[in-house]
Amino acid sequence: MNRDNDKGKVLLQRTALVATGFFLLLIMLIVRLYYLQVYQGDKYTMLADENRISTRVLVPPRGSVYDRNGVVLATNEQNFQALVIAEQTPDWKETLKHFAEIVPLDTDEKEKIAKSIQNNKKFVPVKLKDNLTWEEVSALLLNAPYLPGVFISEGLNRTYPLGIYTAHFLGYVGAVSDTDVKDDPLLMVPGFKIGKSGLEKTFEKELRGQGGDVKLEVNAYGRVMKEIERDKGINGQDLYLTIDSRLQKFAQDAFGDHSGAAVVLDVHSGEILAFVSVPSFDPNLFTTGISHKDWNALLNNERHPLTNKAISGQYSPGSTFKIVVALAALEAGVIDKNTTFNCNGSMSLGNHVFHCWRHWGHGKQNVIEALKNSCDIFFYEVALELGIEKIAAMARQLGLGHETGVSLDNERAGLIPDSEWKMKRYGEKWQQGESVIAGIGQGYVLATPLQLAVMISRVVNGGYDIKPTFMKLNLKEKGKIKKLPISRENIDIVKKGMFEVVNAEHGTASAAKFDMNGIKMGGKTGTTQVRRISMEERKSGIVKDEDLPWRLRNHALFVGYAPQNNPQYAVAVVVEHGSSGSGVAAPIASKILQETLRLDIK
């Protein structure tokens, strides 16, 4: 029994030991709590906030574009898209499989998505499908438990109601590409579109607006519980253009199957009323992602529907340039309205013979007759006397040879050659023969249809330095338009010539004349060779244009204006390989001007 006491004692001692151990362990828990909650509290507070707060960028609606009468040219359409965040799904391949059961995806799309997921960081939302229908959206929401990480985003799609009619000046929007400067968090938003060409690109900043953001509290499954903070951002600005959509459509349709370009300007302000480049393309194809087939079709079309011919197409102005030469000669005093040259069909200079288009000649011609008949010999002589420098100076004053500065990308400057240019370009002296050729707008001389419209406008508005623009001018801006140092009298002589071109009995464009209650048009035709006619061909008889393949036929041009006495509108028409300025370009221009007058655009 002696050891019974020991038994109790041992129990007491050992229990005390165990109890002490237990209490030390519990105190250790409190120390641990202190470490986590106080010492590392800030770190974990941050982590908890990262867990619960999800910041989403709010995309502002892009500004709409309207024509001068308030007709919508570009706007936004509601669009539902499905996106997935790879890190929020345990197995994105499985999720994608489930998704495809609800919204069918073809192999191409699946590959694109897989690539996108693999290339992006795991928290970046990747677009699964665009333009979902209501049925698809509701099916996806219903199946949300099987689609972890998938969410629907309500976006806006850019849409161009007039499609092909506005493509070349509006341009289009497209997905942000790797080469775009990412100066705005909006550009990181999946599916965000920016202006890729045309006015959409030029006025990107204004149209885009400013992105806002919204801080959301989300639960562990990514479900939004409440909104914590919202910065609305600023909506994109709307744009009001000078284009008249009615005229735009009419002018574009006036080309029929021809390709080319036309620009209608208000001669007093430079406001662009119509801006045509045909064939065109449907910009709506680009906003939703164009298919390879459609893209290749556009790219390989020999008529270059993607090229904006009104500003990027550089053509020899041909006889339309005679307006410039005539005015330069009158201003320089080389000729007056009575000066005549005799045209017998050709002119020799050194050992070179220059031909008139009418190889039997026009006989005695003054400047007005020479314009009316488009006599080449008259302008050869004038150019020879005038010299290239004076021609070039006048051409530049009238807006040729340099970019007009219209707010579009890819504008070409055209070319007004002079001796300095030739020395720089070819290292050779300017030849007199080259002045002769330049006198009829051939040779080195190049101009865009927009430049030609500017040129005719500046002449017929009495010599005012208007600039082509898609934005309406206010009074102050109109007041700032400078007068060019060109005399009114000389302008009137040229205008008289241009009036005769259309309205005189044998004017080159007489077939295109019209009389709307006394309102008539004036203008100048131009037909330019795109191929070289060899001496042999000239001897054996020039092949008729209509017997040539399309791409070798002459370009047809016409610049015109109306009304004849108090010009309001000017038009420049270039029909690529249209064969004849008088036969093809002038009638189109005439129709366009008549429609412009009929619409009485203010």
Binding site: L12, T15, L25, Q37, G41, P90
Partner: protein, 384 residues
């Protein structure tokens, strides 16, 4: 036959009323306080709603409180007398569950009694303590210190532990074994035997590792490095630490825990309820919970020291160890100090079985304390 210290109780058993007054009210107060904290926590876990957890937990606690009182008022001699019987009954239940488990799918840990799911492993914790206490109560120190004397109790512990491991419920099995070890230790099994066991354990641990289920291995590995699989098994513990840490000193306020209410915290009403409390009430709240538990455990040791019978002392020590294990393992687990083993925080976590088993054990502890003056003789069970 029985010896009383206090003159008034000398020659007779305590009346029911006397027993009632002998129940330690401080102890019961602490228990009720914890249960109230539990109900509050469950109310918050349901985003401020009495359903589905808080109300039912409250009802259960009231039932369990009744059970505790009944257990406290039972004659202490009945515990002593039927300890072995209870042990064998529970053992049979465990075997039954094991056999049933092979029929059903996956882990089977309970017997469905329609109104209540009986977990024999939970009952075994208590039965084991009573059986071991009875065994050592009747042993001499010589026998305890002999190898022969500890073979029987060791088998008494190992056999049910093995059954529980294959259920598989590693956590409960380890708790059972640890409680057994503590009992072995306090009754006076020599240090060197523990050292020997420890050595053997080190040698056999790699072999045991082999026999663990994959998910059990995962838990241990994840415990060692939670970042190993941040979205898989490590997710729980990472989110738990974020919730705890972001609670700071004063907490985010009742019903304002972001981690718990936005579901970043898993199992917030059961195993991780302490985390939720810590997030909402900060270090102050969580420390209070630990302190109340320390008081409850301290009471246990006071009861153990002042109880005159060896059986009573050992029962209290065993059950107290059991309770300590619950509290310590659960909190250490959510604090990232132990692997996630699925042990709830008694009285606070939602769940009927643990509530009933813990309250029953409190009842037994109270019974030992109520009858602390009763000296249970060893002689009648003497086998020397």
């Amino acid at each position: 036959m029985y010896k009383y210290y206090e003159a008034g109780f000398k020659s007779r058993d305590l009346s029911l009323k006397e027993k009632l007054f002998n129940i330690n009210f401080g102890y019961v107060f602490c228990i009720v306080l914890l249960a109230i904290i539990g109900v509050v926590a469950l109310y918050s876990a349901a985003n401020g709603s009495w359903s589905p957890w808080a109300y039912r937990q409250m009802v259960r606690f009231c039932v369990a409180l009744g059970l505790m009182l009944v257990m406290a008022l039972i004659d202490i001699r009945i515990y002593l007398k039927y300890s072995y019987v209870a042990y064998f009954l529970v053992l049979i239940l465990l075997i039954a569950v094991e056999l049933g488990g092979h029929v059903g799918m996956g882990a089977q840990r309970w017997i469905d009694l329609k109104f209540f799911k009986l977990q024999p492993s939970e009952l075994m914790k208590m039965a084991m303590v009573l059986a071991l206490a009875k065994y050592f109560h009747s042993c001499t120190l010589n026998k305890i210190e002999s190898v022969r004397g500890i073979i029987a109790p060791a088998l008494m512990a190992l056999f049910p532990a093995a059954l529980i491991i294959i259920q598989p419920d590693l956590g409960t099995a380890l708790m059972l074994l640890f409680t057994t070890m503590v009992i072995f230790f306090v009754v006076g099994v020599q240090w060197w035997k523990f050292a020997l066991l420890g050595g053997a354990g080190l040698i056999f641990a790699p072999i045991a590792w082999h026999f663990l289920h994959d998910y059990q291995k995962n838990r241990v590995l994840t415990f060692l490095d939670p970042e190993r699989d941040p979205l898989g098994s490590g997710y729980h513990i990472i989110q738990s630490k974020i919730a705890l840490g972001s609670g700071g000193v004063f907490g985010k306020g009742f019903l304002h825990g972001t981690q718990s209410h936005l579901n970043f915290l898993p199992e917030k009403h059961t195993d991780f309820i302490f985390t939720m409390l810590s997030e909402e009430f900060g270090m102050i709240g969580s420390t209070v919970v630990i302190l109340i538990n320390m008081i409850i455990i301290a009471y246990g040791y006071i009861f153990a020291f002042r109880t005159s019978s060896y059986f009573g002392k050992l029962v209290i020590i065993g059950l107290n160890t059991n309770y300590f294990m619950y509290v310590f393992i659960n909190i250490a687990m959510v604090l990232g100090l132990l692997p996630v083993v699925g042990i709830p925080l008694p009285l606070i976590s939602y769940g009927g079985t643990v509530m009933l088993s813990v309250m029953a054990s409190f009842g037994v502890i109270l019974c030992m304390d109520v009858n602390r003056h009763l000296n249970l003789g060893r002689s009648s069970f003497d086998d020397d």
